[in-house]
């Protein structure tokens, strides 16, 4: 494994840490590898001498309380900007709420479609005396239940991305309103 490959894997494994802490770790291991190479090892040997990434991660995680991520405190500048920009973000917040409302409405429509389909299936048994109508109703019912299932899967995906988007907004907001203590 090359130094860059190792550092990339390390970075990916440290994703749950603060940017500052991640940077410290990467800098540290990069320096150790460079020094090992200077000491006569090949790049591959230098990386291999660190041991496997799982072992390194275990060490990092068990010493987590020691190498804690930097504490964050409220950034006054961030809060002032946040308040001054409220006319802008409040209107976006309105759109955000509206999107949730649309999603809720789509779920309600989907639910109604599923119920009407199920009701149609039940009705089929009662109108069997008129086979033409009965089978038309059954066909409609199966179609509508099927469609509601497909729509539900689609809505779930939409939900998933929208929740992810929400998390991202909160994370960005937290980073903006607080800063790391140095």
């Amino acid at each position: 494994m090359t130094k860059n490959e190792f550092l990339n894997i390390l970075q990916k494994n440290l994703m749950n840490m603060s940017e500052n802490e991640r940077h410290h770790y990467t800098e540290y291991y990069s320096e150790i590898i460079d020094d090992s190479i200077e000491d006569g090892m090949s790049e591959q040997e230098a990386v291999a001498s660190l041991g496997n990434i799982d072992g390194i991660m275990e060490q990092i995680n068990t010493s987590g309380s020691v190498a804690t991520s930097a504490k964050r405190r409220i950034s006054v500048f961030g809060v002032i900007i946040f308040i001054c920009a409220s006319p802008v973000w409040l209107s976006f917040f309105g759109i955000y709420i509206a999107i949730w409302a649309v999603l809720a409405a789509l779920y309600a429509a989907d639910f109604a479609m599923a119920i009407s389909g199920l009701a149609g299936m039940a009705a089929f048994l009662f109108i069997l005396s008129n086979p033409a109508s009965a089978f038309a109703v059954l066909g409609y019912s199966i179609f509508s239940v099927g469609l509601s299932i497909i729509a539900c899967i689609g809505l779930n995906r939409l939900d998933f991305y929208f929740i992810r988007f929400t998390k991202w907004i909160f994370r960005s907001l937290k980073n903006f309103l607080t800063k790391e203590e140095t």
Binding site: E27, E31, D34, D35, D39, I60, V66, A67
Partner: protein
């Protein structure tokens, strides 16, 4: 060796590696290895811990076109080393007590 004991000794060993000269990660590991097993991933949290305890400070120096981080022992770190020597005398006394022979035999 007992993990807790080793942990305490590693802190002291890192401070000791900086006793006479400032040093950097790779060299600290090399200096300690003949006495105590230490890996790169073990050293990092120790350095951070000692730094936040105010026993060492760090600074960067350009070396072969890259930055190398050096560590320097502080007064507080030196005091820890002195305290360790005193503590060790007590530990040796305990060791003599633990390994004493039965005088009645």
């Amino acid at each position: 060796m007992d993990i807790q004991l080793k942990r305490g000794l590693l802190d002291v060993c890192v401070l000791s590696a900086l006793k006479f000269d400032d040093s950097y990660g790779y060299k600290i590991i090399k200096d300690i290895k003949p006495y105590l097993t230490i890996s790169e991933s073990t050293l990092y949290p120790i350095l951070r811990r000692l730094e936040s305890a105010g026993m060492i400070t760090e600074y960067s120096v350009e070396h072969n076109g890259r930055l190398r981080k050096y560590y320097r022992i502080t007064q507080k770190g030196k005091e820890r080393l002195d305290a360790f020597s005193q503590e060790w005398e007590e530990i040796t006394a305990i060791q003599r007590f633990v390994t004493r022979e039965d005088k009645n035999q």
